[in-house]
Structure formats: C-alpha cells, structure tokens
Symmetry: C2
Subunit: 135 residues, 2 copies
C-alpha cells in the first residue's frame, strides 16, 4: 500500500505509516518541543488501549507528571533520559520501558537528533487511587 | 544503563533492551521461522496489556488465525505482508496496524532481512464472541 494513505478497512482494521498521522504539539504546560501522533485510538474502535508516537526535539523535555494509568514504551530513535520516581534511565533505540500507574516520570532528549518513542496507554485509568506512589 | 541488564525498579518499573529478553520460537503449528520476545507482561505487574516483539526470518510466515482480542502493531524493520480478512497490506518500518478482535489475519516476511514488529495485546479477551468476523 502507498505510504501516503491510511486505510480504514471493512473489518475495522487500520493500516498506515506513522509519518502521515496528524502531528500535534504537546501543550507547553506539559512539555517543551514535543509532538504527539495518535496512531490508534478509541475512536478507531480499539477496545482497550491507544498507541501514540512521541517526538521530542533536541533540547526537548516532557515535564514531571503522574496519572493513574500505566505506560508501555518502545524507543525507536534518539537518545533520552527517563526519570521514574528518583531513578534516571538512559535509553536509545530498542529499549522498552514499563511505568506503573501513579509513578512520577519525566523525559529528556539528550541527543542531537529527535527522540522518538511509541507509548501505549489504556483508555481507562488502571486504579481509582490518584496519589503518587511512594516506593 | 547498560544494554546487558534488565532493571526491575522499586516502583515496579521495568527497563531494558529488547535484545536481551528471552527469544522463544513460535510453535510450528502457528508459524514458520518466527520468534517472540515477551517484553512486558502480566507477570511484570502490567495491569492491562502485554508488549511482545516478533521476529519473522526471511521466508518465515505466521499462519492464518483469529482470536477474540485485538492487536496493535508497529513495524520496526523489514518488509512484510499482512493479510487481514481478504485484504493484503504491504508494510515496512514505521507502519502501524490495528487488527480488531475475531478478524482472521496472517503475516509473511517478503524481504531478505528479518521482519521485526512490536505487537500489543490485552490480557483478557475483548469480546465473548469467538467466531470469525464476516465483514
């Protein structure tokens, strides 16, 4: 299939190249020089979880935050640091990251190229507790 | 962090490089020359969904099947064909694929290098219906 199209098929399937999905800036109160593409979302009929692709530009940063749902992340390109609670992990292409619900986290691009990663989240919070986890 | 370690942190986080996760052959009744690594699974504490990395060697094939849960896929490397119901989609690095529950699907490596993709599934079936979807 052509890279210039996103197919929504008759069984409900969706197939496309990430580069043509709308690229939206993450608001400044959340991140600096960071973009998000929602590749697969609830509105596509996906019952349980959503797949997003983040691009953090050189010098970019996703600010410290926490929420009552988990992340499953796979790093595609670039060099970054991920802070999870008080630990910092250096990650590059091929690293995977699991962040449990309510754990504070923060990301930085530490390289000279764009940091790209896939980040999957559930549609619903995974816990009713909204307090940051003390580990 | 070193590429040679997988960290299980005190908040329940898991961080590592996919290449050192155990690589298991997919049984011959399911696939030919295909390997799976379970990067993040229920046993890691992940509440909702699991992340796996598939490697289909040149000439390899994942046979036609269906099941009552969805896939969200991101292609990392290689060239493959994915059949979803009666439609075949050619995919390469950067393509994403959403396959709804109960839709028959099948994969082939169509290149001379390993086809690698991330595939996320929920821990529980997404529907009680187990019949293949007619579209």
């Amino acid at each position: 299939m052509a890279r210039e199209e996103i197919v929504l098929g008759p069984c409900g399937e969706k197939v496309g190249h990430y580069s043509i999905v709308k690229n939206e800036p993450v608001p400044e109160n959340m991140a600096v020089n960071t973009w998000i593409r929602w590749l697969i979302r609830k509105e596509d009929g996906a019952p349980t979880f959503a797949m997003r692709l983040f691009e953090v530009e050189p010098g970019g940063h996703i600010k410290a935050h926490h929420h009552p749902w988990e992340h499953e992340i796979f790093v595609l390109e670039g060099i970054g640091d991920v802070r999870i609670d008080n630990r910092i992990y250096r990650v590059t292409s091929g690293f995977f990251i699991y962040i449990p619900p309510n754990v504070e986290h923060e990301y930085w691009n530490r390289g000279s190229t764009t940091l790209k990663f896939i980040c999957i989240i559930p549609h619903k919070p995974s816990t009713e507790d909204k307090n940051v986890k003390k580990c």
